[in-house]
Each structure stands twice: as C-alpha cells, then as structure tokens.
C-alpha cells in the first residue's frame, strides 16, 4: 500500500509539471503579447505610445528573453507563491484569486456532498424497488438531468424565480451583505443562496451517479451471496447495507475524481449565468481581456484541484477495496 501511494505521488508530480507547461503555453497562446494589448487599449483612449516605450516595457517584464527562461522565471515565482501581476485589476494575481477561491471551494465541496447525498439513497431505492413508480420517476429525472446543460437549467431557474417570486436567485450575497465584513449573519446569508448553484452544478453528476448506483446495485442483488445471506436470516436492511451496497459503492468512489473534474469544469459557465463571485467569471474575463497571468494561474488552480481530487479518490478506493490495496487486478 505504501509503495502504491509513493508511486501515485510521483505520478502526481510529473502531471503537475506537465500542467504547468500547458498553463504557460496558454499564457503565451494569444496572438500578440500583453504589451500589444495594453498599447491597443491606451491608443484607443487617445494616449500616444512610442515603440521605444513598448520595448522598455517588454524588457521590464522580461518578454525579450527566450521562452524557456520566461517559463523558468514564471514557474519559479509560482513555486514561491508569486503568481504574477494582473494588469486588468492592477493587483497581484494572488490577491485577486485569493478573495474568490474560498467561496469557489465551498461551492464545489457543497456540490459534491449534495451529489452523493442525493444520488446514493435514491439509487439504492431505485434498485431495490425496481420498476416501481418512484424508480420510473428517478430514471426519468436522471435522463433529463443528463441531457440539460447546466447553464440552461440556471437560466430557467433565473426566469422562474423572477416570475413566481419576483426575486433574483443569482449571486451569493443579499444586497445588504455585499460589502459587509464576514460575520455569522453573512455566512448564514451565503448558505441561503448557495443551494441554487449547488443544485444546478450537481444536477448532471447526481443523474449520472444515480444511474451508476442503480445499475451496479441491481447486478449485485442478483448474485448468489445475497441469496445465501438472506437464507442465513440476516434482516433485509442490514443485509443490503452491509454487502451489496458496499460493493456497489466501488464504482461511485472510483469516479469521485472524475466527478470533481466535471463540477469544476462546469462551474465557470454557471457562475457567469448566476453571477457568482467565484473564480469562474474571473477566468472567462481574463481570457477575453488577455489578462494572461491571471488566466494561466486560474487554469493551474483548476487542474490542481482536479488532480488532488483524483488522488484522494484513488486513496479512498484503496481503503474501500482490498483487491486494489493488495495490488491485485480489481
């Protein structure tokens, strides 16, 4: 087990290195560099900038050096916690991201909890009461949840909230807490707003996990060991929880990292529609405005979140499933 974990950590470091290169490429990708974009904006504002000034700026920013040196300089800074400077916000990238990252993490975590809290019990119910009315409703909702893009669902919720309750379901704060310092009241206010993005973000994942849970549990329920245990007189509920459900949880845990990646991937669009103060809108705006240090740092954060999540789910799976822990083929 220890050996396996060290190997996983080694692989993790290699992946992180590759991802830092991708993030750097993304920073470099847009045609022209930041200086061009900056000059374009200033010229539009009526300010005249000479070529000399641009060159001075490039030297100051280290843009005249070869690419690998620029990469080393950038990654050196990242390792020391310096993510570069956001020209759009005129502040260090770290500060810009820092004030939005906690809320993003809270939202992602809450979504994952919601997904599993809903999907697992309903999946178990659906499998145990196969072809009942409840099962049919769950299956139908599952199909719909998978087919509806999150942002569309968010738009519909926005519209219905406006029409039926005359309120805006977007945002994470009530107006009176917008600029207030953090307090218990503000925290409670956030919680009361959080459920909308959590449901929207968690919908597709819940639908998927529900189907997985139902399908695997149905497979397990037909196996001989269930009949044997039942014949042995174990009460139905204990039997269900102790053996088939535990088996059926394996694919659910195995897809935890993948699920996390889906949630993180879907978050930017939904955050924009619901105007949430997370890193999603920041990322899209950074891309649109070519604020590339900010964009690069954000994609780095997105990837790190996913990779760490996958790592945790692998470890969890090892704990849950002895076949993997002992190095056999699962």
């Amino acid at each position: 087990m220890f050996h396996l974990i060290t190997r996983r950590i080694a692989a993790l470091l290699v992946t992180l290195f590759l991802i830092s290169i991708i993030a750097f490429i993304i920073i470099q990708l847009p045609p022209g560099d930041f200086v061009d974009a900056y000059a374009g904006k200033k010229t539009q504002g009526g300010v005249i900038i000479t070529q000399d000034e641009l060159d001075v700026m490039r030297v100051r920013l280290g843009m005249d050096k070869p690419l690998y040196q620029q990469y080393l300089k950038w990654i050196g800074g990242v390792v020391r916690g310096d993510l570069g400077f956001s020209w759009e916000y005129h502040r260090p990238v770290k500060d810009v991201i820092g004030e939005r990252l906690p809320l993003t993490l809270v939202m992602v975590f809450a979504t994952l909890v919601f997904t599993y809290m809903v999907a697992i019990p309903i999946g178990i119910y659906s499998a145990v009461r196969q072809y009942s009315v409840g099962d049919h409703i769950a299956t139908l909702l599952g199909y719909l949840g998978l087919a509806t893009p999150g942002f569309l669902f968010a738009l519909v919720l926005l519209y219905l909230g406006q029409k039926w309750f005359g309120m805006n379901v977007g945002g994470l704060f009530s107006p009176e807490f917008e600029d207030a310092a953090w307090s218990w009241a503000k925290f409670a206010d956030v919680l009361s707003h959080l459920w909308v993005p959590v449901i929207v973000l968690g919908m597709a994942g819940t639908a998927f996990q529900l189907r997985t849970m139902r399908a695997t549990l149905l497979d397990e329920l037909n196996k001989m060991y269930v009949t044997a245990a039942r014949a042995g007189g174990i009460p139905e509920f204990n039997l269900l929880i102790k053996y088939p459900v535990r088996m059926a949880l394996n694919p659910i845990v195995a897809t935890l990292g993948w699920e996390l990646s889906k949630v993180i991937s879907g978050a930017p669009i939904i955050s924009i529609v619901l105007s949430l103060p997370t890193i999603g809108p920041l990322y899209v705006n950074a891309l649109l405005n070519q604020d590339m240090y900010l964009a690069g740092a954000l994609i780095l954060i997105y990837c790190i979140l996913v990779i760490v999540g996958t790592f945790i789910s692998d470890i969890l799976l090892m704990i849950l499933d002895p076949r993997i822990r002992l190095g056999g083929k699962g």
Partner: protein, 374 residues
C-alpha cells in the same frame, strides 16, 4: 430472441436466427428497445430540419422585421374566438401598442383579422446546399408576418433561426465526431498494435488529457483563436478543439479491443493463411469491434454538441452570422432579457430533446452491440 421465423437454406428449413449475420442480430435487438426507436425517429426529424432548413424556415436567419421587435410567439389557430372550427389554419394579426405612460411597446392580438396560413409559398430566395436556387418555403402568409416562436431584440424570427441553428449545431457534432473517430482510431490503433513503449506513452497522454478539466481548457484554446478569422474558419477550429480532447474514450476502446483480439484464433489463422498486417487489421480486426466504435461515437455526439453550445454561449465559440443553439442562447444571458422575452428559451428545448434522443439511441445501441447477451 423474438425472431422465430424460418428460412430455406439448401432446401432445408432452418431457424432464421442461426443464419443471421451479426448486423441482423444487432438490428433485431435494437428495434425491440422502444425508447431507442422513438429516439431514432426524433433524430430523423432533426436530420430533415438540418438538411432542409432553408425550405422549412419562412425567413433567413438574419432577416429583420422592424415592425415586430421582441415580439411574442404567434399562435396558429384552428378554432376562432367564437369557437368555430376552420379547416384551414390561420393566425390573428398582431397590433403594436404603446403604453401611454411608460412608452413601452407591447403587442396584442387583433381577433377581428384572420390571416390564413399558406403552404408552399414563395418567399425569400435561398440556395439549398449552395446548389439549387429557390424561393419556395414550407409555409408563410400573404402580407404581414408569421413568427411561430416570436422574435428577438432585432426582430429576427426565432423559428427560422432555430432551424438554421439546428443545422449548424448538428453539423458541429458530426464533424467533431469524425475528427474523434479519426484521432481515436489512429492513436488507439498505434497503441494497441505496437504495444510496448509506444503504448505506454500514448496511454499516459490519454490519462493526462483526461485529468485536465475540459471546459476551462476549451475556453483557453478558443480564446486564443484570432478575432479577425472568418466565421467558417472559427467553426472548423472550434470543432477541432472539441475533438482534440474528446478522442481519448474511443482511443482507449480501440486499444483494449485490439489487444484482446490480437490473440484470438481467427487472427492467427488469417496470419497463417498469409494475410498482410493491413489486411488483418482492416478485414478481420476492425469489423469485429466496429459495433462498439459506433456506440462510442453515438455517445460522444451529444457531448460535442453540449460543449459547442457552452462555448458559444460564453461568446468564445461560434459567432454571428453563423448561428448555432449556443449562439442563440448567447443573447438570453441576463435576467432582464429573459423577463422580457422568455420565448428565447425555446432554443433550450431543442438542445434537451436532441441530447435526450442521442442518449436513448446510444443506450439502445450499447445493448444491441452485444446481441447474444441475454
């Protein structure tokens, strides 16, 4: 298996099922799945819409009607306001009204004026598939205007725009899936056939791509496309971007199938009979797992459509004058617009229905791909 029929082989009566080909068995199993068959019908309608969008749409996607800006959907009636049945469908004329206090424009139906709906009318000229010039439209009215799904801020007919958008969105899916097919087959094929170091390298690459959150990556790549590119170039580039991440599933499938089939007896006998590598791959290996590839492609279709919709919705994918479902929803982003024109959400209905249909068809195909399983 439901097929109990008999056929004659060499003047002997035998069970049809014993002589059925693999594809026949698949079809028999597939058609038993009712939802999948309905899905095929729905997708057939979508296909017809995208092939004949210019004919079905009464207007072109960019045509503006300045007399009916932000107009609500116009309903087609068979019963008039007195409850009398009319054999010929008709619409009521919409009259513009201005609120004397707020000056806001609204539209009311004028039930005194019936305008009959005409089929196969002459309207705007278009070139079907860029080849045939025509001005024949499926339906229309004489004088006035007909907007089944209402109009947007610029007075463009939403129904017509959705018809054109269906064509674009489905074609993005089709082109994207073709790229996925080619990439997945080549990469998976190389990995599975060569094995060893190459296999290891390609597998690591696939794992790496899968570990990156897709939408942020797509966004970054799409944002890097030059703004001055033509919309056609953007269209192709966006499709390639979507496919460059989506091929890993198929690649894995091809690789694992190749590895398991490589050791089968029929491959060995083909090799002993002197077949070349290329012949073995194309004539013996590929057909034996073609059905699985088709399943994977069907399943990846809706993902590509949804991805394109998301990108365009954020303004980083396709752009006007090319309209896709995502481009249409782009204008419905904020709550003010939605509150004024809720009918813009009709586009979403098309997205959900098409993705549902693809999912159901994919499920049916997946069950049918292994026709001998119970």
């Amino acid at each position: 298996m439901a097929n109990k029929g008999y056929i004659d082989v060499n003047n002997k009566k035998v069970h049809r099922i014993d002589y059925a080909t693999h594809w026949q068995l698949m079809w028999w199993k597939f058609r038993k799945n009712r939802m999948a068959m309905i899905a095929v019908g729905v997708l057939g309608i979508f296909l017809i819409i995208s092939l004949f969008a210019d004919f079905i749409a009464p207007y072109k996607s960019g045509t503006r009607n300045i007399n009916y800006l932000q107009g609500p959907p116009i309903r087609v009636h068979l019963l008039d306001d007195k409850g009398n049945f009319h054999f010929h469908p008709f619409i009521y004329e919409m009259v513009k009204k201005r609120d004397p206090v707020t000056y806001r424009v609204s539209y009311v139906t004028d039930t005194s004026k019936k305008i009959p709906l005409r089929f196969f009318t002459r309207g705007e000229t278009y070139r079907l598939w860029g080849l045939f010039e025509s001005n024949l439209h499926l339906f229309g009215i004489d004088g006035g205007f007909i907007n089944l799904f209402g109009t947007d801020q610029l007075g463009r007919d939403l129904f017509s725009r959705i018809m054109y958008a269906t064509r674009i969105s489905l074609s993005v899916g089709a082109v994207g899936v073709s790229f996925v097919f080619i990439l997945g087959l080549i990469m998976g094929g190389i990995a599975g056939y060569l094995g060893g170091q190459t296999d290891e390298l390609i597998m690591r690459l696939m794992e790496f791509i899968r570990s990156i959150p897709t939408i942020p990556l797509w966004l970054a790549m799409a944002a890097a496309l030059p703004r001055e590119w033509s919309s056609l170039k953007i269209y192709l580039a966006v499709t390639i971007i979507l496919a460059s991440v989506g091929w890993t599933n198929l690649g894995r499938r091809v690789r694992s199938k190749l590895i398991s089939i490589r050791e089968e007896d029929f491959i060995l006998s083909a090799r002993l009979a002197g077949c070349s590598d290329a012949r073995i791959i194309i004539h013996h290996m590929l057909p034996s797992f073609m059905s699985y590839i088709i399943v994977d492609l069907t399943i990846s279709f809706p993902y590509i459509i949804l991805a394109e919709t998301s990108l365009s919705f954020l303004g980083l994918g396709l752009r006007e004058p090319i309209v896709s479902w995502g481009v249409l929803l782009y204008s419905a982003q904020n709550i003010q617009t939605l509150a004024q024109m809720p009918w813009l959400l009709i586009t979403g209905l098309f997205i959900v229905i098409s993705v549902l249909a693809f999912n159901f068809m994919g499920d049916g195909l997946r069950d049918a791909a292994d026709p001998l399983a119970k």
